[in-house]
Symmetry: C2
Subunit: 654 residues, 2 copies
């Protein structure tokens, strides 16, 4: 099956491996990992992933993007990465435009976009790099920076000369080959290197044959795979591959697919790349050139047909898409080809980072479940990631989160939209309860705007949380303002579409969890109730000033999600960790102010209501340890309401 | 309740701990453990354990033994430690007899017996040490050795002068006080120190008051608790305690209890300790002095009554028993007092070591389940113990096991008994199958001798394995010679009397496991069968030469026992670890020869049968990964038998 993203490690290692081995050997030669690796895609380098996919016949796709021009464009592109990442690309790549300060720390730079895709969106990323007109030191600097950010793959290009009077420099970077050599010379085998192939020959090459020879040189200099320039006929690519193989190029060659998305963009691209559009295409397009929808439909159909021929040829292990930073056409083509992963399997219950130093990370505190980018950001300086037990990282030094403005941490919604959702004007704490309730219900508020996010949740409710919808609605209405929850699970198959994660054949478990803000009056009643639930329920109750009430053992974390898999150690990807909770509460309380209160004028009643909640409410988390029984946390909350509803006992009159 | 051994950590830490704390503080001041600690009794030092027990009102007992005179006496004493250890003593202590080379490496030395109790029997141990007539260097040497072996507690005594012309030496060790000072001076706070108290005054003291002053000096010099000389009336002890408290001795004072076990031993002890037996006792004993049983019964009754008075006084946190290396009387007294733990809760599913460096050990390969002492021995030089995930110890360097003669690794049964159980003469492999089957059935063999042990199992079947008895019998009869197995368990309470372990309120799980020797013919059939059970069943199949057939992922261990507890991380105490299995197979095959074949003459048919099995059989382990379903491993074996029973297909005749 082509349309299933499978973890090949679960196939390849199932075969018998027999052979002589004595115990001395087996210990000394052991190269086993120090952590249970669930997904070889997390640990292999890109070229090895390709190798495994080619061996298993499992076709892939990849996606090319260019860096955005504006800051808000960056926010949009990052959420596009999240959406398109869910379809299962093997990698994405980010183009390099020397004029756009591509190596800088600007949020729109190629370097930062590639780093964000890798670190925060969990996407294997290839950074383009051009060498023309650049000094050796500049190039090395870019590569060092890329390495520092965790990037492992470079698309090595010559780039276009600036001005027309460019001449070869002695010892300079005149061709992509020079860049490939430089990378291998300075960084040994650290990077995987991709180079460009031209199915009809590079426009500046003396001849097609000469261009093929250049390509062979690039590969011989150390390139790992080739992505081709776009083309319009499958046969163009297939004969190019035959020619490459004939002169001894053996590495993977990925066809660059360009679904035609509009008349203007086609003309522009053709001009830039000096390609000729074949007659059979111009004949169709010219008559409908003013009908965008018709052209897009044609483009999709044409791409699908060409890709089918390519895939059927057996010469194409993966397809590379020039997305032009758009989603619809590419996703449509991939869906029609059956390459888009409709039901992505989660390797772990939270959003991974693809930074190589985090490849062994397999446990996180549950608190950041809806804010994985913030968690990654605040732990980016850790030298080691808690692999295996959380306890190994006994004193987590979380970075401060003062950088709410960072484009990958910002809300996807602009201020105006937030005000529509959360209220132009708040009149009391009840207005806030209503916002929470409307978010849970995914219902329009009284002004007709659906509440699609909260400061603690930038996305609508997870399908898993939907399982708890009725209960959540009920308690939010009464001021138990939930920001995180999970139901208890006593051994569901790891392939369960809602709560499953990890490789197939396993079982996943959860302890019920509930986290909410609530008033100090409620907390007083809650504490009375919780005495009845000892030792079944563990709790942590804290206010913004750090007052901390808990019945947790010392500083021991409590595992709340775990999985059991064939032939593996136990994986426990989320814990309620008392130490981390104190860092999380700083962030959770700050979000009231940073994301909500600041929407309103200083001293305005709306702002003062949020400020009051921030100053006076408690953040509470509850764990029901008895996961095989029915979740008791709703009963805990109901018992609390009962106490609150009971009138004070009157003094007996006689 | 007095008769429950509870883990006090589950009481003390359940209380609310509230107080101001900000996140900076909570991270920097964190001193949490790097591993999930299930049992504070494993990590606390002895004086802290006492403190916790005193605070919780949980009374304890302790047991005194003297070193054995002979090597076989050492083997017996070690199995007595295992039996008496199951009753839950807080500690045991080993006396020191200067004439018996007590600090040597002899298997009968005080040092080695205390070390074995600690390291191999998992008992908190106190080593006695006398200082009289010994040089400072000798004393320091003994203490250094004790520390090296993991011993943490010293009973500091003066000891009896050798000869009658002993005189105080200037700056020498004249009193136990000098030894206490020396220990504190040279080893700071490393050791917990116990000193002796004399309820009627030391026989050589100038007066009772003078002796009390000496005791105060010992405590002031750094002793942590006091054990008293034996006495015959509760009031003797209670008034002694009052006198101690009056002069400012505040540490725990434990009464030394001596259940009278015989007329001669009483007379001897009284003579040595220069005590007077009160009239009410001599009056009873003298008339029955030739009736051992009557005296013992009286002694038990007298001890029980006295202990009851002591415990009821509220002044006695724990009772110390002078066992004279005998079991019956002491266990009887403890049972009557309700202090003997009838149903000991296992902190983990395997036998712990009490060596401080192993206190974080919480995972082991399942292979050594019936040979924990051998496992401890072979890993004694490890610097770190796999805490948390097994994978942290990626290249376990197991010590060789050539020391089958070591007294703590030896079979409890002498050669003659082994021959009776395993056969004076074997006639074929079938004789061996019968021995295994009789062991499983706990039935007498054809010569009327019950098979109580096998080379791989020095004890009768575990209650848990008994659950599988019928299936085990069936397969052993046909030459599937099982040496280790466990049923699958899908979440039983941690308090389950058969399969439970760990603190209450948790759930334990297991994957079904089966390990056996079998012929290469059987293995051929088995391999055909196992193809049908992919990927549900993981297997490792290896012969003595190291030929290794497996479907396991690389070098990843497979968790086969795990537990989920309130407020804790997951604990996974046993794994099937491919690397360790290669070390275990060396030991498992060697046991055929070392423990069984060597019972017979060289070249004898019996010996050659065992040698044949050793040379030709395979050691197989199977794990059924699908723990929530019915164990499929018996079906696997049945399928194998079916292939073996199917006659070869005849060639079709037309």
């Amino acid at each position: 099956m082509v349309n299933q993203r499978v973890d090949p490690s679960w196939h390849t290692s199932k075969s018998d491996s027999s052979g002589a081995s004595n115990s001395g050997e087996s210990s000394r030669d052991s190269s086993r990992c120090s952590t249970p690796v669930l997904d070889a895609d997390r640990t292999d380098r890109l070229r090895d992933k390709m190798k495994r996919r080619i061996e298993s016949g499992d076709r892939w796709f990849s996606l090319e993007f260019f860096p955005p021009r504006t800051a808000s464009g960056a926010v949009n592109l990052i959420s596009r990465f999240d959406r398109m990442g869910s379809g299962g690309p093997l990698f994405i790549d980010i183009t390099w435009h020397p004029a756009g300060d591509p190596g800088s720390d600007k949020e729109t730079s190629s370097m930062m976009i590639a780093s964000t895709a890798l670190n925060y969106c969990g996407l294997e990323s290839v950074l383009h790099l051009t060498c023309c007109n650049q000094s050796r030191d500049t190039i090395t600097g870019h590569l060092q920076k890329a390495k520092r950010l965790g990037l492992k793959n470079i698309m090595a290009l010559r780039g276009d000369p600036i001005g027309s009077d460019w001449e070869e420099e002695e010892g300079g970077f005149n061709y992509a080959t020079d860049l490939v050599k430089h990378i291998r010379c300075e960084f040994d085998d650290y990077f995987d290197i991709c180079v460009a192939g031209y199915p009809t020959g590079h426009p500046e090459a003396e001849s097609y044959a000469d261009d093929l020879r250049h390509l062979k040189e690039k590969v011989d200099a150390g390139a790992d795979f080739i992505i081709t320039q776009l083309f319009f006929r499958a046969e163009t690519f297939l004969s190019f591959v035959r020619d490459c193989r004939a002169i001894g190029i053996t590495c993977p060659i990925l066809p660059g697919i360009f679904p035609i998305q509009g008349y203007q963009s086609l003309r522009q691209l053709v001009k830039l790349s000096k390609l000729e559009v074949p007659e059979e295409i111009t004949e169709v397009i010219e008559p409908i050139k003013d009908n965008d929808a018709a052209i897009r439909n044609f483009g999709i159909q044409q791409a699908v047909e060409m890709c089918r021929v390519l895939l059927d040829s057996g010469e194409v292990p993966g397809l590379h898409f020039y997305t032009l930073n758009r989603e619809v056409a590419t996703m449509d083509v991939l869906r029609q080809l059956g390459l888009w992963v409709e039901d992505p399997r989660r390797p772990l219950p939270w959003a991974l980072s693809a930074n190589p130093k985090r490849k062994v990370e397999d446990v996180r505190p549950i608190f950041w479940a809806s804010r994985p980018k913030s968690y990654i950001y605040r732990t980016q300086d850790w030298d080691e990631f808690p692999n295996g037990r959380w306890g190994n990282s006994s004193s987590p030094a979380f970075g401060e989160l003062n950088d709410y403005y960072l484009f990958y941490l910002k809300s996807k919604s602009p201020k105006a939209a937030l005000l529509q959702m959360w209220g132009e004007e708040l009149t009391s704490e009840d207005s806030v309860f209503e916002v929470f309730t409307n978010y849970i219900m995914a219902q329009p508020n009284q002004n007709g705007h659906k509440v699609m996010c909260l400061p603690w949740n930038d996305d609508p409710l997870a399908p898993e949380t939907n399982l708890l919808k009725d209960e959540l609605e009920r308690v939010n209405r009464r001021g138990v303002l939930t920001i995180n929850s999970q139901p208890s699970i006593n051994g569901k198959p790891s392939t369960d579409p809602i709560v499953g994660w990890g490789p197939p054949g396993g079982y996943v478990f959860q302890k019920a969890y509930l986290e909410f803000f609530t008033s100090s009056e409620n907390v007083s009643a809650l504490l009375k109730v919780l005495k009845k639930y000892e030792p079944r329920v563990n709790y942590h109750i804290v206010n913004v000033h750090g007052k901390n009430i808990t019945n947790a053992h010392d500083m021991q974390p409590n595992a709340v999600t775990w999985g059991i898999f064939p032939g593996r150690e136990i994986v426990q990807p989320t814990v309620v960790d008392p130490v981390s909770f104190m860092f999380w509460k700083d962030e959770a309380f700050a979000l009231w102010i940073e994301q909500w209160a600041k929407l309103y004028e200083d001293e305005s009643p709306s702002r003062m209501i949020i400020q009051y909640i921030h100053d006076n409410y408690f953040l509470v988390n509850l764990v029901d340890n008895d996961f095989p029984l029915d979740n008791c946390l709703w009963q805990v909350i109901d018992d609390m309401f009962e106490i609150l509803d009971t009138p004070p006992v009157a003094l007996q009159s006689n």
